[in-house]
Symmetry: C2
Subunit: 207 residues, 2 copies
């Protein structure tokens, strides 16, 4: 690890200041990494990325404003040279799949050590990909979402426990139609009712 090579410019985006600061400090100890930007929300991450043009953006999955996958999508369009990776507390299978679809090159849980994270940042910067083995196994065994677009959409509206009438109103649909779609979703997921179905879909990251 030569001292004279240009360091990798890293951006950290995480709403938990404690973690962001601590990780920034630890990564700063690595000679070949330099944390050039930090952000505490989705929109802020985009703004900082535009201003500082990092080589690698390390994004938390759950942030206020816009989640990590959304930020990665925007970054891919705006800064094609910027590699993106996602760090997450509890990673659900569906999230990993969506992340890879929008060009994210790294996906790791927060249970990794800082050393390991530094290595993965290097891996991603090099152009390779890295996905946590355990999350990958979960994603593979979980498979694809069996839900159609509308089914997932209505399940999402049903999540808060709202009655069918309200869901129908918010989706500009007939109550009967809403029941049909939700019934289909419930059957596909093997749930006992729409509320349980919504929980299952959420746990799989299918929402």
């Amino acid at each position: 690890m030569s001292v004279n090579i240009t360091p990798i410019r890293v951006m950290l985006a995480d709403d938990e200041h404690l973690i962001r600061g601590a990780v920034a400090a630890l990564l700063g100890l690595e000679e070949d990494l330099r944390v050039v930007a930090e952000a505490a929300s989705g929109p802020e991450a985009l703004a900082m990325a535009r201003a500082h043009r990092p080589d690698v953006a390390v994004l938390d999955l759950q942030m206020p404003g816009a989640d990590g996958v959304a930020v990665a999508t925007s970054l891919r369009a705006e800064l094609p040279g910027c590699r993106t990776m996602i760090v997450t507390g509890h990673g659900r299978p569906g999230h990993l799949k969506r992340a890879l679809e929008v060009g994210v090159r790294g996906f790791v849980p927060k249970t990794v050590s800082a050393q390991k994270l530094a290595e993965i940042i290097r891996t991603v910067h090099r152009g390779s990909r890295y996905v946590d083995p355990e999350l990958a196994a979960d994603a593979i065994s979980a498979g694809d979402s069996p839900l159609t677009g509308r089914e997932a959409e209505l399940l999402e509206l049903a999540e808060g426990g709202a009655p069918i009438a309200e869901i129908a109103q918010r989706a500009s649909l007939t109550p009967g139609t809403v029941r049909n779609y939700l019934s289909a979703a419930v059957a596909k997921l093997g749930a006992e009712n729409r509320h349980a179905a919504a929980r299952i879909a959420r746990a799989q990251g299918w929402l």
Copy 2:
């Protein structure tokens, strides 16, 4: 800040290795703090505390095995000399209240900086208390749970979207009785059905 005073012995418990390691590194830079133990789960935190007898235990609220409040409860009984504090990602009002009831002396969100955390550890060690102002305001405005014991218990069982028959079975109650309690809970919370009520109660930390 004298170099010669006995350092404060700190234990960190958090299942996210990245955060734990990074915070430990940052706190280690403070002359008067020494991280003497780390744990990644509730039971492990208890075992480490017994072995290393820290002055202050910094506990994450959500850990596998036993949550921060449960660990704090055990620590209070086993190691009365050990002060406890909770660090949490998303703190709900009810959690703060329960934590204070079991003798926790600090309650902060993960959005604080490491410097601030170090200060709070000193404050707690000194015997004072510290509660994040924003979380305190939430807790005050949220007030106490209007739910009776059984109402909360049944709402918890209803959370997964299970049908009433299953809830009744798991609670060893008549389906009719379950409906009555849940109906009362729904009325008290101003919800539209038990599923929405469960969400409301969960958001307030009343479960």
